[in-house]
């Protein structure tokens, strides 16, 4: 985690109440959060905790009822900023089926840059780069309905990448994928993070956040916890309270430590396991 990094997005005491919400209950209340440049931030929470509502603020799809959302120094409240905000923060949604606009793979990836009004040659090169990063270059001329669920979700990522935004917000991108599709998508996210993209990753699977730099837990529209991934996994009782389950491997590793009394590192990375267990032989 770089502490001196620039702030990409900032929520300042944001409260949001859905105008259509029958209860009048706030979906977010008093949320303050900073997303720093280049970090991979995990946003966790159970169903209805307000994760999607928060994510939609970062892209100016929702404007705070109270408080402010600042993206690269621009307030999302000013309609004149909306276009620049959406060019700086792009989004991938949960259902791969409902975010594809084009009938052919590369036409769909071009939709964002076309809306940005770029010249054709620039769109073409961005689409090519984005499809390459998403592992879809070989399928660029295929009709979109022939793609598998995992490929559709990767196309959604390519569509977001083609807009060349420095920050990418993914709202439960793996929720509807099989284990293979999930692994592919996570590998792409790791590569993007290594390439310097700022990533906000919304999920409720703890095993997906092992490589994240920082984690934020939402519950009932409030930030309940904020900090490193390792300390989060140590919050045993609290995790259960927030509706999150420690990954099976982490739970097993912890039990092993408790049973044997060995001083094992908290997170079972391959290197950590080898370092801790090999000397025992």
């Amino acid at each position: 985690m770089k502490t001196d990094a620039r702030t990409v997005c900032e929520l300042r005491d944001v409260t949001y109440v859905y105008p259509s919400g029958a209860s009048g209950r706030a979906a977010l209340s008093g949320v303050s959060l900073e997303v720093r440049e280049g970090e991979w931030l995990a946003l966790l929470g159970s169903n209805g905790s307000g994760k999607s509502t928060l994510a939609r603020h970062l892209n100016a799809l929702l404007i705070p009822t109270q408080g402010d959302c600042i993206v690269y120094g621009m307030s999302t409240r000013d309609p004149a900023n909306v276009f620049a905000v959406r060019s700086a923060v792009s989004m991938v949604f949960q259902n791969p089926e409902n975010q594809i606009v084009g009938t052919v793979v590369d036409e769909d990836a071009a939709f964002g840059p076309e809306n940005q009004g770029l010249p054709p040659a620039e769109i073409e090169s961005r689409v090519e780069r984005a499809l390459e990063a998403a592992g879809l270059l070989a399928k660029r001329a295929k009709p979109t309905y022939t793609l598998s669920g995992g490929e559709k979700q990767r196309l959604a990522v390519a569509g977001a990448l083609a807009m060349d935004a420095p920050c990418l917000v993914l709202d439960e991108p793996t929720a509807m994928l099989d284990p293979r599709g999930r692994a592919d998508l996570l590998a792409i996210m790791r590569a993007l993070h290594d390439g310097g993209k700022t990533i906000v990753h919304i999920t409720h699977r703890l095993e997906e956040i092992l490589w994240c730099d920082r984690a934020v837990v939402l519950a009932g529209g409030r930030i309940e916890w904020e900090g490193g991934v390792e300390p989060l996994l140590r919050q045993d009782g609290a995790l259960r309270k927030w509706g999150l389950d420690a990954p099976p491997l982490v739970a097993l590793w912890r039990e092993l430590g408790e049973e044997t009394g060995l001083a094992l590192p908290r997170i079972p990375t391959l290197e950590g396991m080898i370092d801790a267990l090999c000397p025992l032989q």
Binding site: G112, E114, N115, P119, M163
Partner: protein
Amino acid sequence: MKFLNNLTFGQYVPADSPVHSLDPRCKILAVPVVLTGIFMAGHVAAFAAWAGLLAALAWYSRLPFRLVLNSAKPVLILVAFTALIHIFFTDGTPILKLGFVTITREGVAAAAQMGLRLLLLVLFASFLTLTTKPMELSDGLERLFSPLVRFGFPAHELAMMMTIALRFIPTLLTETDRIMKAQLARGASFDRGSLWKRLKAFIPVLIPLFVIVFQRAEELATAMEARCYRGGEGRTRMRPLRWSGRDTAALAATVAVVVALAAGERSLLP
């Protein structure tokens, strides 16, 4: 088992042909020209000439002729119906009397003429969708209608609606299929009973389908907005349409063929 896969007739078939690479506007404009030509045809020889042109166009487009013919399947009932009306309701020299209906020589001729015209019409028009990508087609229509935007005509919006509708057809077919199977598993039947009964069996399919469509539409709208969509203004295209000399030549050739056939029929044949 798939219930609805035959609705995909007439959809774009990729191929590397001179017809595929024409500007979509050229193909769109050629359609009414050809249709006018077919409606002016009346003699057997003229119909034979048009059928020949159809085969030539299929060959030139690198499309299997059978596939082109298939695209007329959904309208065969309409063709048969039109022909029957003409057989029964045309006055003239009677050749056959069946109770109170009389079939006339003129009726048979008119039925054959109208049937053939409709058939050729559909077959020629299907080349437009068979050889043009949906996105190109909607781009072409948008550009052709763009002069009307000044009078408030929503050219971009209609073209975008068409693109999205085309994009959603396969999804909706899959969805309908899924719902129908779920209903079948609960004992519904779609192919037995009176017409009324069968229609009624479709209501439990249509309601969830509508719910799904609206839900999808809302999510898609959000996703489009997130990707900076704000209507046609300021929007550019990755592959802008380019009208070339070839397109002018193709359109001119189409007009020439239509005029030549019509003139030939008037002057050479009785």
